[in-house]
């Protein structure tokens, strides 16, 4: 059981997507795991043949437990652990965050492994939802090249493949190419929970879309045969509050935080964004958060001691910049999954990745690598009102950048007073790794990068 975030102690196997005898490829999704905070698709970091599954669906096991045995093809005798282990060998997964409070003995290894570039993954990365869609529509996944982040095969890839050519007229007008009846994310989620097959339903919502009521009615008529997939969802808010509390207490106990704050003039990026969005269709528009994320990821190059992990009391900088994005859940709680390799992403790709990630964090399913490997976190809490946010660092990371609300302020420049859009950027950083001087340099670098938005 991989550690899907430093605050995770145990996980429940909600669904296996592999069985003994199956061939698996590094980066492929092998299981769906429920944690206190989320539903996560677990990727495997070995290629080979599945020998046996050691944990049943519905069973909860502590972080570090072996889930399955996989025989690698190159070294037949070697038995690898089907978990978030790097491909170099059967390393044990990271221990739970508060190892001394956990009765399960697991070897100490704190650093969440950084997955290799996802573009090298041989088999397409596919979520269970997309896999089922492909099966239903008779699409061979192996023939598809994914258009999603890191080559992930997305729902629309499958839909495009399933679409007979020249059948444009059949596409519903606001859910392009969706197979089966249209439905809201909530209805889909509910359908999964209640074991209702959406494709069998007649929608009573607008344009015949399936809404909550349809799903509930169907669930009453045909009692679900399969157990609910979201086993942990009942008491999730309370469990999530506990998990956040434990992690933040650990952070404040172990990490000597220091805090810095600076106000950044956003006149240039605001003007650039307006112009850029004029040229884009509404579906491709960018938001300021994307520029802030990219600038943060690039600023790390100048001050690398903001990006990485504390491992056994020493700082291990990370080459790649996987930015954890704090997403507040409307049902309560916050989760900070990563957008990978932000420093290399074009703004449009970053926007698409962010949109996808936030959407899945709120309604759907996250992937194990997204949960386990952010190297720095950004919180954009201010989007909803406050001027500045001073965050608590997510262990084992060493820095967290907060952006407040973009607001117009009186701004003196060149002896003139003007009204400029501004944002307050803050940094919470780990004093064991850096000092305020370097932290200040980091915020100044973010500012400098934002003044040249066309280069982001």
């Amino acid at each position: 059981m991989p550690s899907l975030g430093a605050d995770m102690e145990a996980g429940t196997i909600a669904q296996w997507l592999i069985k003994p005898g199956d061939e698996v490829h590094r980066g492929g999704i092998v299981a769906v795991v429920e944690t206190e905070k989320s539903t996560i698709e677990v990727e495997i970091f070995e290629s080979g043949i599945v020998d046996e599954l050691l944990v049943h669906e519905g069973e909860s096991v502590p972080v570090g437990a072996v889930l399955a045995h996989v025989t690698s093809r190159t070294a037949e005798a070697a038995t690898a652990t089907a978990s978030l282990s790097p491909p170099t060998g059967p390393f044990p997964p990271p221990p739970p965050p508060v190892a001394h409070e956990n009765p399960v003995a697991v070897p100490t290894r704190v650093a969440p492994p950084i997955p290799a570039a996802r573009s090298t993954v041989p088999a397409p990365v596919v979520s269970p939802v997309v896999r089922r869609l492909a099966e239903r529509s008779g699409v061979d996944l192996a023939t598809l090249s994914g258009s999603g982040l890191g080559g992930t095969v997305t729902r629309s890839d499958v839909e495009r493949a399933a679409q007979p050519t020249g059948d444009e007229g059949a596409r519903p007008e606001w859910a392009p190419g969706r197979v089966g009846p249209r439905s809201s994310p909530f209805a889909r989620k509910l359908a999964t929970e209640l074991g209702v097959d959406l494709s069998t339903l007649q929608g009573s919502g607008p344009h015949g879309s399936v809404i909550e009521r349809d799903v509930r009615l169907a669930a009453e008529v045909t009692p679900a045969e399969t157990p609910p997939a979201t086993v942990a969802s009942e008491d999730r808010p309370a469990a999530m509050r506990r998990a956040i509390g434990a992690l933040m207490a650990r952070s404040k106990r172990e990490i000597p935080h220091y805090y810095l704050s600076t106000t950044i003039d956003l006149t240039a990026p605001t003007a650039w964004l307006e112009q850029a969005n004029l040229e884009r269709p509404i579906t491709g528009r960018l938001i300021m958060s994307v520029l802030l994320l990219k600038a943060t990821a690039l600023a790390v190059k100048a001050v690398p001691e903001m990006n990485g992990f504390m491992v056994d009391g020493a700082f291990a900088p990370s080459e790649a910049v996987h930015v954890g994005v704090a997403v507040s859940l409307r049902t309560g709680g916050v989760i900070a999954p990563a957008v990978h390799n932000v420093e290399h992403l074009a703004l449009d790709d970053l926007m698409a990745g962010l949109k996808d990630l936030v959407g899945r964090a709120r309604t759907g399913v996250l992937r194990s690598s997204e949960m386990s490997d952010p190297t720095i976190t950004v919180t954009n809490l201010g989007d909803l009102g406050v001027e500045a946010v001073f965050g608590v660092i997510y262990p084992p990371q060493v820095a967290l950048v907060g952006f407040g609300r973009v607001m117009e302020r009186a701004w003196a420049q060149d002896g003139m007073l003007g009204v400029h859009p501004c944002v307050t950027a803050t940094l919470s950083a780990d004093h064991r790794v850096s000092d305020g001087h370097r932290g200040g340099r980091f915020l100044a670098e973010i500012d400098r990068l934002l003044q040249e938005p066309e280069k982001l």
């Binding site: 809201s184 809404i211 969005n277 579906t283 989007d383």
Partner: protein, 80 residues
């Protein structure tokens, strides 16, 4: 598009963007962003939802007109 159709459309698009929120919680005149906790990503998704349903391009400069339920209804009905 009639007033009722516009209202129904707003409701269903909001439901897609933020399934947890209820349009009935919005008091007349209150902005959607504040009443429903919509951040800039949510609001963009809301505009995209309206665009996909109606075909309207909805330029960014029109966003302020979409900030209340009443504003959205006026915007949608006057656009045809």
């Amino acid at each position: 598009m009639t007033n009722d159709e516009a209202r129904q459309l707003i409701r269903s698009v909001l439901h897609q963007v933020a399934p947890e929120v209820d349009l009935d919680d919005v008091v007349a005149g209150e902005t959607l962003q504040e009443a429903l906790d919509l951040d800039s990503m949510d609001f963009l998704n809301f505009a995209v939802g309206l665009h996909e349903a109606t075909g309207l391009e909805i330029p960014e400069r029109d966003y302020p007109r979409l900030s209340t339920v009443e504003g959205c209804v006026t915007y949608l009905t006057s656009a045809g």
